[in-house]
């Protein structure tokens, strides 16, 4: 099983879309709320070189924004 993390804020609509998409496809993921955990937010910024959410991390690969096609490919759906 792939290790999936979603960096998000509670208020961003694309974060909701991304999480719903994963749920609809029965993909387990860890939600990292960068509003509640700013240190994790800074880690995400460092890793991706940008400050937008959501970021989906799949086995160490980062997908910036909710890109359904890229996410599907990375998950092998």
């Amino acid at each position: 099983m792939k290790n999936v993390k979603v960096y998000s804020t509670p208020t961003c609509p694309y974060c909701q879309h991304a999480k719903q998409f994963l749920k609809d496809n029965n993909i387990e993921f860890e939600n990292i709320d960068v509003a509640a955990d700013p240190a994790k937010g800074q880690e995400m910024v460092k890793e991706t070189g940008q400050m937008g959410v959501p970021v989906i991390e799949i086995d160490g690969e980062f997908i910036i924004g909710f890109d359904q096609e890229k996410t599907k490919t990375a998950l092998g759906l």
Binding site: T9, C12, P13, Y14, Q16, P38, M51
Partner: protein
């Protein structure tokens, strides 16, 4: 050929779709996203039936309502052109082209950009157009908000709770947002208001490190790590070149949501309808589909 293609899935497009589904039309919805500006809204307290609901929640409700019917929806698809030849309306998109008897343009509005050097380069690297979404990433930082209307003031209210210091940069001599919000902002010692001030440039290396502004012919650079652009909206009407538009590029419609081309209707924030509200956009969407219904029944 479809009876109807709805362009957009914000309050206007979704309501148009619900009405089309209930009239059992053969129709398709094409949209870049779902919810449009509503999805990005914070708290909504003026949509009848909900005393309080957040933008994402109301969007979910809209979606749930639409999906109750089997609606054909093409998401993540950009419309590039709409035209009519010999009674057939052609819609060209980033992924293909479609033919239909009628269309409803409900493509809404999007954030206006500053158009200054550095803005595009540092988008998502400190420059953002959604305080609600990205605000938390600027915890403890110094930020600039550009604008003087309600959306700029709302962004300031949100960021007062998060950021270290806020420069509110407004090109006009005075803020135009609601007095009640202005008072709250002026009470905070975290906010510096710079009126009559123009943005010249976004500065940075990997991320934003400052903003160059001009006040009374004097230039200065403010050290900020975040820039929130809140200078209003522009209609998503570039693809609708053959439709009559007003000076603000809004599509002109009559009281039945008809455009200048028979069979092409428009609804919501992309049109010149007075007042832009979620509830108005939704109402306009229903009016447009009913207009389409009457139009189609006259064609037969």
């Amino acid at each position: 050929m479809y009876d109807l293609i709805v362009i957009g899935a914000g309050p206007a497009g979704i309501t148009a779709s619900v009405y089309a589904a209930r009239k059992r039309m053969n129709f398709l919805v094409i949209s870049k996203d779902i919810g449009g500006q509503t999805a990005w809204s914070g708290d909504i307290e003026n949509y009848t039936g909900y005393q309080f609901i957040s933008g994402p929640e109301l969007t979910a409700k809209f979606q749930e309502h639409m999906r109750q019917y089997s609606v054909a929806l093409k998401e993540n698809e950009d419309v590039l052109g709409i035209s009519k030849k010999a009674n057939i309306i052609m819609i060209k998109t980033s992924k293909g082209s479609y033919e239909t008897k009628t269309a409803i343009v409900a493509s809404g509005k999007r954030s206006r950009e500053l158009n200054v050097p550095g803005e595009k380069e540092f988008k998502n690297k400190g420059v953002t157009y959604c305080a609600t979404c990205d605000g938390p990433l600027f915890a403890g930082k110094d930020v600039a908000i550009i604008g003087g209307g309600n959306s700029a003031l709302d962004a300031a209210l949100q960021l007062i709770k998060i950021a270290n210091h806020i420069y509110l940069i407004d090109i006009a001599p005075q803020l135009i947002g609601d007095a009640i919000i202005q008072d709250k902002i002026k009470k905070s010692n975290k906010v510096t208001i710079l009126s009559n001030t123009k943005v010249l440039k976004v500065i940075g290396d990997k991320f934003v490190s400052g903003i160059k502004v001009e006040t009374d012919d004097k230039e200065k650079t403010l050290p900020v790590q975040g820039i929130f652009v809140e200078i209003g909206l522009i209609p998503n009407s570039e693809f609708a070149k053959e439709l009559d538009r007003n000076k603000q590029e809004e599509i002109k419609v009559d009281e039945h949501n008809k455009t200048n081309i028979p069979g092409i209707f428009a609804a919501g924030d992309v049109t010149d309808v007075p007042e832009k509200q979620i509830i108005i956009a939704a109402g306009e969407g229903s009016k447009a589909t009913l207009g389409v219904f009457h139009y189609l029944s006259r064609q037969k």
